[in-house]
């Protein structure tokens, strides 16, 4: 009860501006919370309700009603509002009276207005009475505001539409506006929270807020648009916040990449929904497998446990090693021809990547203009030789290449010495293939992948990493793992049969994700590793394993709106027709700008001249005024002279105190003030002549202030406005 009373007293003295600030925060939060689901009139009703709630709370907080009663009243208000809403929604007479549209609005407002009033008032009164609830109030307000922006998460810069669309139409970046809204909401809430408490508590809160801000400042990028949420490093595809312009990946990068392709028991996929890149197709291409593979790296060297990035210079030369600074061709890229068709694509990276990737088999990389450097980390163009041939065409192709030396062929066949691989591979070939196909490399490879697809289980959680040979542990164990396991198993099985194979990494996206558009959006979750086999004439061909059973649920395809919008950004096109309002206003402004500028200049000049005249008059008036008003006018002229050099009486300070303050530099001011006050407050004693004091004061002023400061002050016509 005592605490109750104490806080009540505290709220009695709440300044008006604090209430105004609170009202602002509550109104904004109510509008943000209700806005997306209500009509405009409903939003207005809830804003009015919030304002009313804050005002009611201001009265109630210092009133005699106890908190439980106030809360009970608020609950009753809510119930009554719900009841009224129910009655009005079903009321046929209302609809007949006002027409259905207005009736709907009235019914909506009848719920929203009293409900927001009750909720805001309850929150405010509780937090005014019980200081701890201030935190809850703040959380509620921030929560309401962030509910508006929640659709924006996961890098969806086009959400919420109501905010993003108008800004995009006007040519702006919605991310800025959304971040700004969030920042304003946080700042206002923080202000409200700080003003809520007494000085001691406010200090504590300020400390906590300071720590919070420091952590935010320390962990976020403050300049430029916020980067998309972290999407992890995928399979070592992306470097986090690192530039690697080097054509040759540095050792550290290579180290990391190998590290990341390692077998992990739990493959964490944070931020998997965040977009990492957009790929624009300039040529129509439908992959025979129904999946677009974007290769970034290849792993072909057997290091005794798994496959790692090659240390040789003469293999895997079709893998791009660095981002293009000028156009360059990849060595050992497959020729387009009967097997492959040229497909041109433009890649816009939204997250930093260690190396460029390109559709299936990149042939040529070209740098491209970045249409929006704030949005895209890097943009480049890729010419790929994409595979057209299907299984029938490849069936007869021999594995490997006739250009390869024996060393290279051996290199691509290296694998674990474990005999079980070969036994299993041969069993698979025996069981899966008819005798006529058993000697065809393509058929044998497909048999292996289809065996793995049938028997394997996809899961991001597995228990193989600890084993000496994780691939064997996976393959001869529970066959449960993710793409790295499957790719390794497939490659080792193929190599044991003498088929040159490797693991490639990059992104894999189903064709239907394109949804008829000319772009695909790659997200963090699309990173993938798959086996590839080399065939004479066709080059490296993707032979992926697609496990039938998956323990992890599938994910929704990317938002087609976002995909289209990012593609348009990459094409440097506006997705929405430009709004003619803004240019029209701008044009009109431009046309009238000259007139406005001239009028403004004239007005400013006139004002300056007028001020200069007034100032001169005030300075000269003591010379010809009536003796009765001379003390006042001399004193005013003296004050103007002090204002010129920036000395000015503080508000609430008496004239005597002001003179005392300057007494060491300007002793004459004390006497002059006395003369002025004597005249102003009715002294009957004959005064000294203020003009001699004024002369003395000027001499003292000259001694105390440098000449340029005095001249500057004299020349500025507005200084007398500061005189009080």
């Amino acid at each position: 009860m005592r605490a109750d009373r104490a806080s009540r007293d505290e709220s009695t003295t709440e300044p008006v501006w604090t209430t105004a600030l609170r009202a602002l925060v509550h109104v904004a939060a109510a509008a943000a919370f209700v806005g997306p689901t209500a009509t405009v009139s409903g939003t207005v009703a809830s804003s009015v309700g919030a304002l009313a709630g804050v005002l009611v709370a201001r009265k109630l907080a210092s009133g005699p009603l106890r908190l439980p009663i106030v809360l009970a009243l608020a609950a009753t208000g809510l119930a009554l509002a719900a009841g009224l809403h129910g009655v009005l929604s079903d009321a046929a007479w209302l609809a007949r009276l006002t027409g259905p549209a207005l009736a709907l609005r009235i019914a909506e407002a009848s719920l929203l207005l009293p409900a927001t009033t009750a909720v805001c008032a309850a929150l405010r009164v509780s937090s005014a009475r019980v200081p701890v609830v201030g935190v809850i109030e703040t959380v509620a307000l921030v929560g309401a505001t962030s509910s508006l922006l929640a659709a924006h998460r996961g890098g969806a810069i086009h959400r919420p539409f109501a905010i993003a669309d108008p800004i995009r139409t006007a040519g702006g970046d919605p991310t800025f506006a959304i971040v700004l809204i969030g920042a304003i909401a946080v700042a206002l809430s923080v202000l409200a929270l700080v003003t809520e408490q007494r000085a001691g508590r406010a200090l504590l809160h300020l400390g906590a807020i300071g720590a919070l801000l420091a952590s935010i400042v320390g962990t976020t990028r403050l300049l430029g648009p916020p980067s998309p949420p972290p999407s992890g490093e995928g399979l070592g595809l992306r470097g986090q916040g690192r530039e690697s312009d080097a054509r040759e990946g540095s050792d550290a990068d290579r180290e990391r990449e190998q590290e990341d392709l390692a077998f992990r028991d739990e493959y964490r996929n944070e931020g998997a929904q965040a977009p990492v890149a957009v790929v624009l197709f300039h040529d129509e291409y439908e992959p025979p497998s129904g999946i677009y593979y974007f290769r970034q790296g290849a792993f072909s060297e057997y290091n005794g446990v798994r496959l790692v990035r090659t240390s040789r210079a003469d293999v895997d030369q079709d893998v791009a090693s660095g981002f293009p600074v000028r156009p360059y061709e990849l060595r050992a890229a497959p020729a387009s021809g009967a097997w492959r068709a040229q497909v041109r694509t433009t890649v816009g990276l939204l997250a930093d990547h260690l190396r460029p990737f390109g559709l299936e088999a990149p042939v040529r990389l070209e740098p491209a203009r970045n249409p929006d450097p704030r949005r895209f980390e890097r943009v480049y163009r890729v010419h790929s030789a994409a595979l057209l041939a299907d299984a029938t065409a490849l069936l007869d192709a021999p594995a490997g290449s006739s250009d390869w030396s024996d060393a290279i062929r051996r290199y691509y066949l290296e694998g674990p010495a474990d005999p079980r691989y070969r036994e299993l591979a041969e069993r698979i070939v025996r069981e899966k293939l008819p005798a006529s196909l058993r000697d065809r490399p393509f058929a044998r490879a497909v048999a292996i992948t289809s065996y793995l697809s049938e028997h394997g289980t996809y899961s991001l959680r597995s228990r193989h990493a600890g084993a000496p040979d994780p691939t064997a542990h996976f393959l001869f164990g529970d066959l449960t793992g993710y793409c790295v396991h499957f790719a390794h198993a497939a490659v080792f099985l193929m190599r044991s049969l003498g088929i040159p194979a490797r693991v490639a990494t990059g992104y894999a996206v189903a064709e239907e994700v394109r949804a008829g558009g000319s772009a695909v959006l790659l997200r963090g979750r699309d990173s993938h590793a798959w086996p590839e086999v080399h065939f004479e004439g066709a080059g490296w061909v993707v032979l992926d394993v697609q496990p039938r059973t998956a323990l992890d649920g599938g994910a929704a395809p990317p938002d087609p709106e976002l995909q289209r919008m990012l593609a348009d950004l990459l094409r440097d096109e506006r997705p929405l027709p430009p709004d003619p309002t803004w240019p029209a206003i701008a044009r009109r402004l431009r046309r009238s700008a000259g007139g406005i500028a001239r009028a403004t200049t004239a007005a400013v000049a006139l004002a300056l001249v007028a001020m200069a005249l007034v100032k001169a008059w005030r300075r000269l008036a003591p010379h010809w005024c009536a003796p009765a008003s001379r003390p006042r006018l001399v004193y005013r002229a003296a004050l103007d002279a002090l204002s010129d050099v920036g000395w000015r009486r503080a508000r609430g300070e008496t004239r005597e105190a002001f003179a005392q303050r300057l007494a060491t530099q300007l002793p004459a001011l004390v006497a002059l003030t006395r003369v002025h006050l004597a005249a102003a407050f009715g002294s009957r004693v004959a005064p000294n002549d203020p003009r001699t004091l004024w002369r003395a004061l000027r001499a003292q002023l000259r001694a105390a202030v440098p000449w340029w400061r005095r001249w500057l002050g004299t020349l500025l016509p507005w200084t007398f406005l500061r005189t009080r």
Binding site: D9, T12, T13, S629, R632, Y635, R636, L639, R649, R651, G652, E653, T654, R655, E656, A657, R674, H676, L677, A678, A679, A680, F681, G682, S683, R684, V685, A686, P687, R724
Partner: protein, 341 residues
């Protein structure tokens, strides 16, 4: 600018001379007090202002802060008129067992004449130190307060007038309140000033100590004293010749009304506060060599004048700060007014 002042019955000196004489009285008092008491110039000024303005003073202080010295030196600065039976200084230590006649005096039977004669109590003095006034019963308090308000005492239905120059300096200890009878606020209203004495600084305390072996009273003794008639003349002078401009009066009324309207206060200052404020302001103006009351006087006196007449709405309200807030507003208004034609 000089207007002829209305002729005074007992004196026809020019106004400047009268003002100078009054100022001289105040300065002599101040000088004696300053010689005896170190580091309390502000308190001394207020006490002298109160004496000139014919108002009583309540000192709130801790034991040993020099209040007795202050009162004694003030009393002894007044030269008694030859043949007067009024003592310059009396001290009354208030205790719970005191009865009103202990301070007012009592009627006794004179055995020689067989007549009832009135034996005067300690109130028959120029300066009375009422020490720890909150320790005595309300009965004694009200006897003192009647004497303060009416300048007379009533004993056995006989009214005895006190001297025209009757000045009470009452003290109370703000901390040690156990077993006390706090003065009710209507009675506080009868004091012109309540002065809160702050502890003095180290330098001043050193100066106090370094004066040993001379005592305060000895140090003050050599300086010129003030005759009772001079003091009364000074009071008359400031009533007659120190100007309180209408705008200052207006500002005072507005200040008091604003305090009454303040939600943080249960009770604002009385109208009496306004009435007694005028001579106090005039006395301060005189002390500062002016024949007019300036805004500075309002600012300087507002707190001792008004703070004890307020009743706060909450226990922890800072009355001084509240008064300061309103006074700053009044001072701003006065400062602005002075530049207007």
């Amino acid at each position: 600018m000089t207007e002829p002042s209305p002729p005074l019955a007992h004196d026809a000196q020019p106004v400047e001379a009268l003002l100078q004489a009054a100022r001289d009285v105040a300065e002599r008092l101040q000088r004696r007090l300053q010689a005896a008491i170190v580091g309390r110039d502000a308190v001394i000024e207020l006490v002298v202002v109160a004496l000139l303005a014919d108002g009583h003073v309540l000192l709130e202080d801790y034991p040993g802060s020099g209040k007795t010295t202050l009162a004694r030196v003030l009393g002894e600065s007044i030269e008694p008129e030859p043949g007067s039976s009024v003592a310059p200084f009396r001290r009354i230590q208030f205790t719970p067992d005191l009865v009103p006649s202990d301070i007012t005096g009592t009627t006794v039977l004179d055995l020689a004449t067989h007549a009832l004669v009135f034996r005067r109590g300690p109130l028959f003095a120029h300066v009375v130190l009422a020490d720890e006034i909150n320790r005595t019963s309300p009965k004694v308090q009200s006897a003192l307060l009647e004497a303060m308000a009416e300048k007379q005492v009533t004993v056995d239905e006989q009214t005895h007038a006190l001297d025209e120059l009757f000045h009470v300096i009452a003290t109370q200890n703000p901390l040690d309140v156990a077993g006390t009878y706090p003065l009710p606020s209507p009675q506080l209203d009868r004091f012109l000033f309540k002065i809160v004495m702050e502890p003095i600084g180290r330098e001043d305390e050193l100066r106090v100590v370094s004066r040993y072996p001379a005592t305060s009273l000895e140090l003050a003794a050599g300086l010129g004293r003030v005759r009772r008639a001079e003091l009364l003349q000074a009071r008359a002078t400031l009533r007659e010749h120190v100007v309180v401009a209408p705008v200052i009066r207006e500002s005072l009324v507005d200040l008091v009304r604003a305090l009454r309207a303040d939600a943080r206060l249960l009770r604002g200052p009385s109208t009496r506060a306004l009435v007694v404020a005028l001579p106090a302001l005039a006395a301060r103006a005189l002390l500062h060599g002016r024949d007019f009351v300036a805004p500075e006087d309002v600012v300087a006196l507002a707190r001792p004048l008004l703070a004890h007449r307020l009743e706060p709405a909450t226990a922890d309200a800072d009355l001084g700060a509240i008064v300061g807030e309103h006074v700053a507003r009044a001072a701003e208004g006065l400062a602005r007014h002075s530049l207007r034609p």
